[in-house]
Structures are given as structure tokens and as C-alpha cells.
């Protein structure tokens, strides 16, 4: 059984387009996250949600908008895609009390042309 799943796995799109990445976890966790990993493998937190409420919003352009319809889902919508948005985006989840042990999804590889 997949614990944290993301769709799509690969996303190739043109500059200026709007795209969404979906994330679902079946672990019963109350906290979900979005991370961005750049070409140098550096991982950086973008957003964190606890029980559907935004609790962390790092310095991320407002073209990025997370949405949590329920505790098991955290989707990421990106408007007006730019070349610099090309990266691997990881969704993760944890219990708030055990946030050091996060479960990551397989990643979505976004390439903006």
C-alpha cells in the first residue's frame, strides 16, 4: 500500500501555464508538507498544513497556492509557471507530535520549457 502518493510523477509544460500537483496520504497523519528540491538536490520547505490549516508558508511566490480539502490531501497549484520553477516537488506527512519523522512521497518532476 502506498503511504504518500503524488500525481503526476512527471510534468512537462510551457512557461506561463497553470498546473496542479496532487498529494494523498493514507497514514492518518494530521500534518502535511510540500518541499522543493532543486537541481543541486537542496531540499527546502514550502508549506505545511496541520488539520487542513496552513501553519508554515515560507518565502514562496504567491503563484504557488496549496489547498487542503481534507486531512489526507494537500494539493499544490502553480500559476504562470516560470523556468525557475523546474524542480522536484515532494509531498510529505507526519503526526504533528512526530514531525521529525516525515514520510515523503515519490516526488513530481516538473520541467518548465
Amino acid at each position: 500500500d502506498t503511504a504518500v502518493s503524488q500525481t503526476p510523477k512527471y510534468l512537462v509544460t510551457q512557461m506561463g501555464n497553470d498546473k496542479s500537483i496532487k498529494c494523498e496520504q493514507n497514514l492518518g497523519h494530521d500534518t502535511m508538507y510540500w518541499y522543493k528540491q532543486d537541481s543541486k538536490k537542496f531540499l527546502k520547505i514550502m508549506f505545511s498544513y496541520n488539520n487542513k490549516e496552513l501553519i508554515i508558508n515560507e518565502t514562496v511566490p504567491n503563484r504557488f497556492s496549496p489547498k487542503s480539502p481534507d486531512k489526507a490531501h494537500l494539493n499544490l497549484h502553480i500559476n504562470s509557471l516560470e523556468l525557475g520553477d523546474s524542480a522536484v516537488y515532494f509531498c510529505a506527512s507526519s503526526q504533528a507530535a512526530s514531525r521529525r519523522a516525515q514520510y515523503f512521497g515519490p516526488g513530481t518532476r516538473l520541467l518548465v520549457l
Binding site: K41, I45, S48, N50, R100, A101
Partner: protein
């Protein structure tokens, strides 16, 4: 810039050797320090953590050492296997925060 960093970007070892991956941190107020493993094409995976009031913690074939005096964290892998080949990240949890702050990662290559 990030507060957790790595000494070396790559480490190559022979199968069966012991591996030591190092990390320097600057945020002394962090509650926990954590190691994650990321295999090629996959998401990071939790390996082991250590609370800031400890200096050593052992897991299965892995040991994490924390030296608060010099703000140094290390991950020791005993009898390294080809399946240990991956990128290893140290990370920390700031006391007041909820998200992981990752270091830059060390690529471990294990040859048979």
C-alpha cells in the same frame, strides 16, 4: 542561508567498510537532529534522529553522534552495503518551528 550543512558532497567506500558522513550545524536551539536517506528517483526516508540533550544514539547498523561543543553531527554506517548507496541529508527541527531544515546532502557510493 541554511543552518545545517555538510562537510563533503561525496563519499566513496568499499562494500563492508564503515562509512562516516558528517554534518555541521549552526542553530544550537534545535530540539532534534535527524538523518534522511534519499535513493535515486525516490523521496527522502527517515533513518534515525537524536535529541539535542543526547550525544549518541544507535540503530540497526547506524549510529548518530552529536557533538554540541563544535556543533557537529555524524552518521556512521557499519558494514556498508551497495543498498546504502544514496544521498544522505542531515536535518534539524528548530524549537519553535514545525518543518525540517535540511542540509545539502552527501552522496554515498558503495562499490562491490
Amino acid at each position: 542561508g541554511e543552518s545545517v550543512g555538510l562537510h563533503l558532497p561525496t563519499l566513496s567506500v568499499q562494500e563492508g567498510d564503515n562509512s562516516i558522513i558528517n554534518c555541521a550545524y549552526s542553530n544550537s536551539a534545535s530540539d532534534y537532529f535527524i538523518w534522511y536517506k534519499q535513493e535515486s528517483g525516490k523521496g527522502p526516508q527517515f533513518i534515525i534522529d537524536i535529541r539535542s540533550n543526547m550525544d549518541k544514539r544507535q540503530g540497526q547498523r547506524v549510529t548518530v553522534l552529536l557533538n554540541k561543543t563544535v556543533k557537529h553531527l555524524s552518521l556512521q554506517i557499519a558494514a556498508t552495503q551497495p543498498g546504502d548507496s544514496a544521498v544522505y541529508f542531515c536535518a534539524e527541527i528548530p524549537q519553535a518551528g514545525t518543518a525540517l531544515i535540511f542540509g545539502k546532502g552527501t552522496t554515498l557510493s558503495v562499490s562491490s
